[in-house]
Each structure stands twice: as C-alpha cells, then as structure tokens.
C-alpha cells in the first residue's frame, strides 16, 4: 500500500470521521486535529451541543412532506437532506445503524411518516440505553404493522414480532427455542396500533400505539428459563440479562463501526473476525446496562478501532452523503435532493424500505457489477463539478503545493483522504497524468486534475471506509 501522508494524526481523524460521520474535508480535519482525537469523540457523542438541522428549511421547499399527510413515495429525502447538512453526524450514523437492525419497510407498512418517526426516535434516543430503544420499537406502530403484532392476539398468537425480536433484534439464532418464541409472542399480545383512519386526500393520518388489555394474555409464561406472568417489557428485561444478547449487539456494533463481518445469518455458525474486540464490547454493554454512548466511547477510543482503517466497504448512503458533503453546496433542498435519494436506492439501499426485516447485507455484498457502476458514475460526476466549492477547494489545495505529475497525484490522494492505495493503482494514476507533463495551473491544470479526481473516486480503494 502507498500511503500519501506521514501524518498519522490526520489519518486517524479522517478514519474517525468516516466511521462516526460521513467523512470530513481537509480543512475540517485540520481544525479537529487542533482540538484532539478524544475531544472530537466527545463532541460526536454530545450532539445536543450542535445546532440541529432545521427541517422547516426543507419543508419550506417541500411542503408535501409535512406530517401527517405524506404523499406516497416521498419518504427518504428529508432524512437524506438531514444527513448531508447535520453538524452531528454520529447521530445520523446511528439512525442508519438502528434502521439496519430494526429494518422496517414501506413496501409493507405503506406509510412513510411512521417509519420516519422511528428514525426520529433513533436520532433522539440512539445514544441512550438499548432497552429504551427496544421498548420504543416494540411500541412503534410501523414495527407493529410490519411484523404483524396487531394480529397477535391473546387467543391466537402471531409469532412474527416475537421471533424477529429474538432472532434479529437481540439474541440471534441458536439461543432460544421455538417455545420461547411462542411465550415471547404471548407477552406482546394486545400491543397493537390505534385503528388506521383511511387515507385522506394528501396521505395518511398518524398511527398510534395502543395497549388492549382485553387482548393481552396475562397467564403464566415460561421464557428463557424464567417463569412468571410476563408482559413485553419484562420479556425485554429477561432478554437483555442474557450474555448472548450483549454478544449479538456487540457484533452488530463491530460490523457497522469497525470492520466488515460475515452477514448476520452466518453469525450462529461463523465466529467473529476479532473475538476479543466483540467480547470487549459485549462486556461494556453488560456493565453499562447497554448504554450506547458509554460503549461507543470505548469503541472509538480502542486500539482495535484505530487499527481498522479502510476495512469496511462503504454502504450506499455513506457513498452518496459523504460525496455530497465533500463537494459542498448541497445545503439548499433543491430538486437534486430527489435524484440523490434515488442514487442511494440504485446503489442497493432503499432507505425506509429494506429488502426484508433482516436489513441490508453489507460489506462486499454491496458490490456487484450494477451497483459498482452506479457508485462510480455518481462519484465521478460530482467530483468533477468545478462549480462546487468543495471541489474548488481541493483543486486550490493541490495547486498550491504541486505541479509535477507525481506531486499532483500524491497531493490529490492526501487531500481526498488521506487515502491508502495499492502501488499498482498509484502507478496507473501517475502514468495517466505523466504523458502531458507538469501541471500548468493557468491553463489545463484544473481540467487535468478533475480527470484525475474522477479516476481516484473510481479506484477500488475508494470503495473502502
């Protein structure tokens, strides 16, 4: 690997911002280096100190997004716009993290507002206790409808929510029996949603959680070795007391923030890449009563995190949002926001509409000939738009210090990352710009550099975060 910088502080800060956020420009990285790594971690963990995104700014341009009453098919754009403009990127990263675990989709729910409400909840509570998030999810009308808990009755249970709570949201396959699934489902009988009003002319009214006492099974349950007249909250407490749950959530954290793991269905069979790290996170989860802020602080300050640079394939949201934040001038909610939202979908991540309750398969499974094409085409188009301030700034920084082909290649790789690329890739980039000699910043220098930037975002290495 060729590393273009000897500045490990900047590399580390860039790594942190790629993982806990959506990357950062070189100017921002320099500023953050002044503050220090641990201070930056604290800043990310305390989003309330940042000015929140003014969603009304967005709604002024798109009043039809006003809730309640969303028109079908307009769902993800306000969230994507928030991600592009937020000063508290970890909050949005956590929304993606939880959305991928508690994957709930409009294909069935048919009500974007309700899934957006879930995302808002993740934003608000994502750094708190996992139990609170589980409880909120269990009471989310979107989730209740998605996993049919409104059909889970005292006299005839529907196992859908009970099973996925255990299989995908907390413990993973192999840590419970079919009886546990049924007993778990019994505990959540009567947890339903307020009757849906029909659509009115612009969309749907809000749904609400409703507990129907008459439809709740108050009988004794035997669940994971415990006996009692449990309700849903008590079942969640029992689940969280099991080490298997901490290990499962720990692996989710590791997979999302540290390094690509095999897909979730493989976890009952394939051990973690770094069992020590997952054990460490699991212990922190148990010790902190699943306090996510505490655990994330340990994660970002750990050696295993710092050593895991470029070991994750960027997910489509990261590709699009980090590109837009890098090139700049994306804060006005113009018509482009619809295309940008679509781009994430074309790359395989239809936010608010995951392929199944399992969420998206990640890592290398983001890549196939179609999605690689979409990624490359989008990034290439954006990074070569010289009218964007971020692009202009990159060119300015490069042109200040470089004019020989090799200097320009290295400066671009440094300002864009700093990136680590294979020697062969480096020599290809160099060869591409060498034939035309030194860069003349008064004439063709800018165009040549834009072409070079297009090639850099098209490299294999640029797919990694």
């Amino acid at each position: 690997m060729v590393s273009t910088t000897t500045n490990t502080e900047i590399s580390l800060m860039a790594h942190l911002m790629r993982r806990a956020g959506f990357g950062a420009s070189r100017n921002e990285l320099e500023e953050r280096r002044g503050k220090g790594y641990e201070e930056t971690v604290e800043e990310l963990l305390n989003p309330s100190n940042q000015t929140p995104v003014d969603i009304y700014e967005f709604l002024r341009y798109y009043p039809m997004w006003w809730k309640p009453g969303t028109m079908g098919g307009l769902g993800q754009a306000p969230w994507v716009w928030t991600m592009i403009n937020t000063e508290a990127p970890l909050q949005e990263k956590l929304c993606i993290f939880y959305h991928n675990i508690f994957a709930t989709g409009v294909a069935k729910v048919d009500h974007y507002d309700e899934i957006q409400d879930m995302i808002d909840m993740f934003r608000e509570k994502g750094l708190g206790h996992y139990k609170d998030i589980l409880l909120e999810v269990a009471k989310s009308p979107a989730m209740i409808y998605w996993l049919d808990n409104n059909e889970n009755h005292a006299d005839s249970i529907n196992e859908n929510w009970g099973r996925e709570l255990l299989e995908l949201f907390t413990m993973g396959v192999g840590n419970y029996t079919e009886e546990d699934v049924q007993e778990c489902s019994r505990a959540f009988t009567g947890w339903t949603l307020e009757h849906k009003l029909p659509r009115f002319h612009m969309g749907r009214w809000d749904w609400e959680f409703k507990f129907v006492e008459d439809d709740h099974d108050y009988g004794q349950k035997e669940f994971l070795g415990h006996k009692g007249n449990f309700d849903g909250e008590e079942v969640i407490d029992i689940i969280l007391s099991k080490p298997a749950t901490a290990a499962f959530i720990a692996r989710h954290l590791y997979n999302f923030f540290v390094e690509d793991e095999p897909q979730v269905p493989a976890w009952s069979v394939v051990p973690p890449n770094n069992p020590g790290a997952v054990e460490f996170l699991a212990k922190e989860l148990m010790d902190s009563d699943y306090h996510m802020e505490t655990v994330l602080r340990k994660l970002f300050n750990s050696d295993f995190f710092k050593e895991a640079q470029f070991s994750r394939v960027k997910n489509p949201t990261e590709v699009v949002v980090s590109t837009l934040r890098l090139v700049g001038d994306s804060s006005l909610p113009g018509p482009d926001i619809l295309d940008w939202t679509g781009q994430i979908v074309y790359m395989g991540q239809d936010l608010l509409n995951p392929p199944s309750v399992e969420g998206w398969h990640s890592g290398i499974e983001w890549i196939n000939s179609g999605t690689l094409m979409k990624r490359t085409n989008f990034m290439s188009e954006m990074i070569s738009d010289y009218s964007r301030p971020g692009v202009k700034s990159i060119i300015d920084q490069v042109s200040r210090s470089a004019s020989k082909p090799e200097e320009v290649v290295n400066a671009c790789l440094d300002v864009m990352g700093p990136l680590e690329i294979a020697e062969k890739t480096h020599s290809e980039l160099l060869e591409h710009v060498s034939s035309q000699g030194d860069f003349d910043w008064q004439s063709s220098g800018v165009t040549r550099t834009l072409e070079l930037l297009q090639l850099i975002v098209a490299t294999r290495e640029y797919q990694f975060a």
Partner: protein, 380 residues
C-alpha cells in the same frame, strides 16, 4: 465454449419472496379439510379455477390456468426439505445454496454458470434483474450482470467527449486488472469492475434491437420480464435469468395482497411468453417459480404464518404439463407443527432443471444425487 446458438436451453427463475401460500395458490378444492383449516383465508369454491377434480388455481392465475390446459405448466407438489426453520432468511439461503445443514455461500446457479461457461468467455451468461445480486447466483469467480435498468447501463457515462471517456475507461481497465496478493475483496472488486465494463458493452445493444407489439403492464415483475425478453431476443448467449417478486409474507391482509401479487405475476408471465412466441424465441425457454416455504395450514384470521412444504411451477413449451408428486396430506396427524410436510426435496426439482433441461451435471450443482421428478419433455 461452443458458439452459443439461439437454441441453447435458457432458464428464467422467478423467486416468490416471502413465502408463497401453497394452499391458496394450488387450491385443494375438493378436500373438506381445506375449508376447516381456512375459515377466513380461503378461496371460495366458486372462485377457484378448477384444473382437476382435486386442485385448482387461485382466481388471479387465469393466464397460467390457460397455459396449464395447453400442457405447458408443471405443478410440482410438496417441495421443501426436512426440518424447515420457518425463517425467511435461513430458508431462502438453503434454497439458494442447497446447504440445509451448514451455512453455504455458493449459489446453485452460480455453480451452474461455472459449468456452462468455465472460462468466463461471456460475462452475460447469467443476468440478474434487480437492484441486488441473489445468492443463488453467487460463486467465486463467476460474473453475473446485475441489471436494474437496461436503458441506462454503462460505466462513467457522464464523461465526454467520447475520446476522453475512452481514455479514462482504458485507465480504469488497467486499474482494475488483477493485482497479485491484494486479497479476496480487492480481487472481487477488480473482477467486478472489469465484468461491469464488458457486460455493459454487450447489453447496451439489447433495447435498441427490440421491437414488439406486446405491451407489458406497469408492474415491477412485468418490467423485469420485459428486460429479460429484450436480452434473450438480442441473442447474447444469456442462459440464466433471475428475478423476484414479493412480498408474499402474508401474515395479515392475505387475500388482497396475494391476489395482487398473483395477478401481476400471471399477466406478466403470459405477456412474456407471448412476446417470445411472437419472435419465435419461446421454444428454448423454461421458467421456474419457487418460494422459500409454504405457509401454515391454519389461517390466523387475517393471514397465514410461516410454514414448510410449498409448491413449484415450471412453465414453457418444453415442460411436460401436469402434476408431479402428491399434495401433502392435510390430516391433523400428518402435519408437522401445523405445517404441510414436504415429501419432495427441492434439490430433486433442481436436478431435473439442471440435468434434463440445462444438460448439466447436476451432482455438483445440488450437492448430491436426488431422484428427479420428470416434468421436462426431455426427461426420461
């Protein structure tokens, strides 16, 4: 690899994602237990499209019933495997990989592609229609073109003029060429990039060559099947097509959802075969429909929960129409945890498709020897 001819066998797999309800797809209308188990979620006697005195299709499947009566649809009963986990993901994995015991990463069709085109001479031997690649098609070193929209398919299409784009693409090709010792992920990326480039060049010709009087409906399955028709008619040597339709996970509101799904599927399938027929290109195409499991025998008042045994359909001129296997017994004592017990292993069905239709060695594809239901005209 021999030069592909237009008459090489082609398979089109349509995956019914979410667990299609067997009992309301192929309705055992004369069995009184059916109505006992399904007080709320049933197809009324008058709505069933009767095929035989025992079974009939869902009313939304009229176009498929016509094809059945013409002898071009095989109904393969009671398909599944032992100890169904009743989990979508695990079950779909099993159908995709043929690994019910351990976790498989290779898909059965991925292995089939390898047999068809061992030297990767054609990057469009298999085409997956949709945003993501199905695990059934995944195998190491096997390219699959993943096409979402055939009309805008290409790499770095924003770069102009053409001369500049060619220069950048040429460099891209070099950057993506094999890099020794770079690890499996980098190698995969490299190969994928090169395949994408090559595949786009080939597939770009298909829409421009296509003309037809068939008007497909504006549904997702119709769009996918139209794309498949365009590629097939362009004669690019594609042998395996894959697409999906869903979600069939009808725990609630089943009657209306199931109806919509089968209505869009049946219409699109009829239009697809009409389109091929019009171009004299139907006689080497077999379509195969499956789902990861059937649904529970008892309804839950509004829908049905995850079950076990399901039904597969094979459609086309080379299919020997009719029923294969037995409808699993619905008697109380014969059910497993309330589910139909599959008595035909899904790998048996794959074996027929691989050996009798695709003319491949089925053993490595499905991972063993399985007795074949003989639903292809070429079965003996």
């Amino acid at each position: 690899m021999s030069e592909p001819t237009s008459k090489d066998p082609v398979i089109v797999v349509v995956q019914l994602s979410g667990g299609n309800d067997y009992m309301n797809t192929v309705v055992p209308h004369s069995n009184s237990l059916y109505r006992d188990y399904r007080p709320s979620v049933n197809i009324s006697e008058s709505d069933v499209i009767e095929l035989t005195s025992d079974i009939g299709f869902h009313p939304a499947m009229a176009p498929l019933a016509d094809m059945y009566k013409e002898g071009n649809v095989a109904v393969i009963h009671g398909v599944g495997y032992e100890n169904s986990p009743r989990s979508h993901f695990r079950s779909m994995d099993i159908w995709h990989t043929c690994e019910p015991e351990t976790l498989g990463t290779e898909g059965w069709l991925g292995r089939a592609i390898k047999q068809i085109d061992p030297n990767k001479e054609n990057v469009v031997t298999a085409v997956s229609m949709g945003p993501s690649l199905y695990r059934a098609l995944v195998a190491p070193d096997v390219p699959v073109a993943t096409v979402e929209n055939l009309d805008n398919y290409g790499l770095l299409t924003d770069i102009s003029p053409e001369q500049k784009r060619d220069r950048v693409l040429d460099r891209y090709k070099k950057m993506y060429s094999p890099m020794i010792g770079s690890g499996p992920v980098m190698e995969f990326l490299g190969q994928t990039g090169l395949d994408a480039m090559k595949g786009a060049d080939i597939l770009n010709v298909a829409p421009s060559m296509y003309s037809s009087t068939v008007e497909y409906a504006d549904t997702s399955i119709a769009k996918k099947l139209k794309g498949i028709a365009q590629i097939h008619l362009a004669n690019l040597g594609t042998r395996i097509f894959y697409c999906d339709l869903g979600s069939f996970d009808t725990h609630a509101d089943q009657l209306s959802t199931h109806n919509k799904l089968w209505s869009s599927a049946s219409t699109a399938i009829r239009d697809f075969f009409d389109d091929l027929e019009q171009h004299d290109a139907a006689d080497n195409v077999t379509m195969f429909l499956f789902s990861e499991f059937g649904r529970r025998v008892y309804d839950n008042g509004a829908g049905t929960d995850h079950g076990a045994g399901g039904v597969c359909l094979a459609i086309g001129k080379n299919v020997k129409g009719g029923e294969y296997g037995q409808y699993p017994s619905m008697k109380e004592g014969d059910l497993d945890q309330g589910d139909l017990v599959p008595d035909l292993d899904f790998r048996s069905v794959y074996t027929t498709l691989a050996e009798d239709w695709m003319r491949l060695d089925p053993v490595p594809i499905v991972g063993g020897n399985f007795e074949k239901p003989k639903f292809m005209a070429t079965s003996n």
